[in-house]
Structure formats: C-alpha cells, structure tokens
Symmetry: C3
Subunit: 156 residues, 3 copies
Amino acid sequence: MDTCNIVENIYLLAIITALSVFQNVFFALKLDKECTSDNTRPTAIERVSCANRNCMDSYPTFIAVMWCAGVCLNQAPAAFAGLLYLIVRHKYFIGYMGQTSQSTPGYLFGKRILIFLALMCLVGVLNYLLMRFFGSDYRETVETFTSAASALLLIP
Amino acid sequence: MDTCNIVENIYLLAIITALSVFQNVFFALKLDKECTSDNTRPTAIERVSCANRNCMDSYPTFIAVMWCAGVCLNQAPAAFAGLLYLIVRHKYFIGYMGQTSQSTPGYLFGKRILIFLALMCLVGVLNYLLMRFFGSDYRETVETFTSAASALLLIP
Amino acid sequence: MDTCNIVENIYLLAIITALSVFQNVFFALKLDKECTSDNTRPTAIERVSCANRNCMDSYPTFIAVMWCAGVCLNQAPAAFAGLLYLIVRHKYFIGYMGQTSQSTPGYLFGKRILIFLALMCLVGVLNYLLMRFFGSDYRETVETFTSAASALLLIP
C-alpha cells in the first residue's frame, strides 16, 4: 500500500525515464550501425559520434533535475517538460546527422527546459521552507503557476 | 520510522549503486595510472580511455532505469539485473583493454539488461494504472513473473 | 502531507542538485562561447572541452551516490559533502583552463568525497540490516559520527 502511494507521485516521471532509455538505446544502435557499416565515411561516423556524445553529456543533468522538480513540487509539469526535452533532443540528434555544411548546432540544447526544471526544484524547496517556518502553504498556488508556466515552454 | 520504511524498499539498490561507484573509481584509477606511467604506449591509453568513456556513457542510463524499475515494481529482480550489468561491464572493460587485434567490442553492451529494466519499469507503471482505474491488483503475479524472467538474463 | 514528509528528508539534496545543474550549464556555456569565439585557439578549445568532459564523466556517479547516502543515512552530511564536491569541481575546471604548462591535473578529482559518500551509503544499509535482524538501532550514533567525519573532508 505504501509503495503504491509512492508510485502514485512518480509514475509520470518513470514513464518519461523509460522512454528516454529507449531513446538512448536507439541513439547507441544508430552509432553502432554507422561504425560497423561497410561504406565507412569518416565524417558520418564523426558526426553521429559527436551528436551521441553531446546528448549523453547532458543526460544525467536532465534526469537528476527532472526527478528533483517532480518530487519537490509536482510531477505533471516536470514530466511535460521532460517530454518536450526528449522531443528537442530527438530533433537535435537528427539535425546533427543531416547537417552537410560546417555549421553544426551548438553544444548545448534544451537550455531553457533545464533552467525551468531547476527553478521548479528551487521553488519547491523554498515553498517547503516557508511552510515549515511560517506555517503558510502556497503549494497549490505555486503548482497552478508552474502548470501554466510549463505551457510557455512550447513557444519556440 | 518512516525513513526506515523507505530504506527497506531500496537497500538492495543502494548496495548496487555503491558497488558501481567503487567500480567507476577503479576504472578511473586504471585510466589515471595508464596516462601517468612512464612507458606511454599511445594505443594502450587510447584503448583504456575509450573503454572508460563507453562505460561512463551508459552509466546514467543504467542507474536511472534500475532505480525506476526497483521503485515501481520490486527491488530484488532490479538489483539482480544491476549486479549482472556490473559483471558484464567489468568483462567488457577487461576485454577492451586486452584486445590486440583491430576488432574491438561494439559500443553498446548489456543492451538486453537495460531493455529488461525499462520493461520492468513500464510494467510497474501499467500495473499501478490498472489498479487505480480498474481496482484489480496484479502486483504479486507480476512480481513472480519478473523474478522468474530475471533468471533468463543469466543465459548468455 | 505525505509529499511534504518526503521533501523534509531530501530538501538539502534537492538544493545541491539544482546548484550543480546551474554549474553544469555554466560549464557548457563556457565551452560554447570558446568554440564560437572569433580568435579560435585550438589548444584553448581542447582544454575547455577536456575539462568539461572530465567533469561530466564523473557527474552521474556523484549524483547517484549523494542521493543514496542522503536517503539511506542522513541528508545533512551528504549535502555538505556535495557542496564541497561542487567547490572542488569548480576549482578543477578553472585550474584546467588556466594551465599553460603541459602538466594538467589528473583525470579524477574529489576521489575522497566520492569514497566518503559511498561508505556512508554502505553504513546506512548495514545499519538498516542490523536493526532488522538484531533489533538494535545505532542510527543516531552513526549519524553523529558521520557528521563529525564530514568535517574531516575540509582538510586539504
């Protein structure tokens, strides 16, 4: 019963995590296929490898901050932001591979989403401290604002 | 009392995590030693560095999915799969270093274990949703099946 | 109410995680700026890229073990060690960039802090097992010792 209670608060985050793992495996298989294919163009391997590395570099940051934001504040906007991040990452990976000119996309992507999640995390902690020391609970107000703010991430 | 309750559900996962950290430090020390040794063979450094990087690239994926699977469903099979993963990773690292021919092992290893853990995670969430909306709890059945299925991972 | 209870046990860890995310984004922006600046000195890019990669390689290890230690034993010393780790990492990154001679700092940094956190995690699990099978709870004694031991990390 207790475990179910915990699962209730995190199941959306767990779904996003599982999805991100499938995406990681997809990226790794793409890289593997490129490396072992017969017509080895060094630039293509280089490109896929670089895209995969950049994605993997920011992956732990994303997972850590998404779980923090989801547990401290509310899982729905955190999971929504996580889903957006996965879509942005997919577009980044595909865009990196298809690039033929020298101008590759920058190193960092989804900056805005990461900052949003980190702020959610800090706001959740702040709200807890306010409640503890002043006895005032702004949780519902904050959650409403956060849900509204997460829609703003859709703006490109 | 409450904290103990939480620890009860995750202590196997915590043990595996601590073990994986010791393994990571062991890998890093191996790389450090190779880089600062006097007889610097570039190929050996290259090889250890590459093995270490590949292991590190998939580490966050593994940790995230192991904890998700353990929390959402059952910690015993998740920790068992995690232990197998650590063994596979050790063999991969040693195998990578000892390789003298050009044929290095592929980029991705332990694919099967990662997919198994991600499926466990999804099944746990699905079970929770079924229970919530239909009132039927297949948790015990699912846990039995999962424990049995985790034994299948031993097949090479 | 239940969620607040959980937040009570992890809010220091959440703050450290959010801080580490801002630090990661700072590192990534530094690298981005160096790559797109006009006067491209290859050695500078190489140096920043290497420092960033080393920091990112050990980041998931740090996050995983800090959360484990915090949840299994006590959040205060774990968060304190985490804060020290962030400071050590910052010094490492700055030191790596400013280096002009060939002697770069080693690959691994904050080894002592990571080992300390992994030991905390194991001690917490051990204490839980002792309590479960022998009915003796050394939790408070262990927590006092751990808080004292975390001060030892300040010794350079």
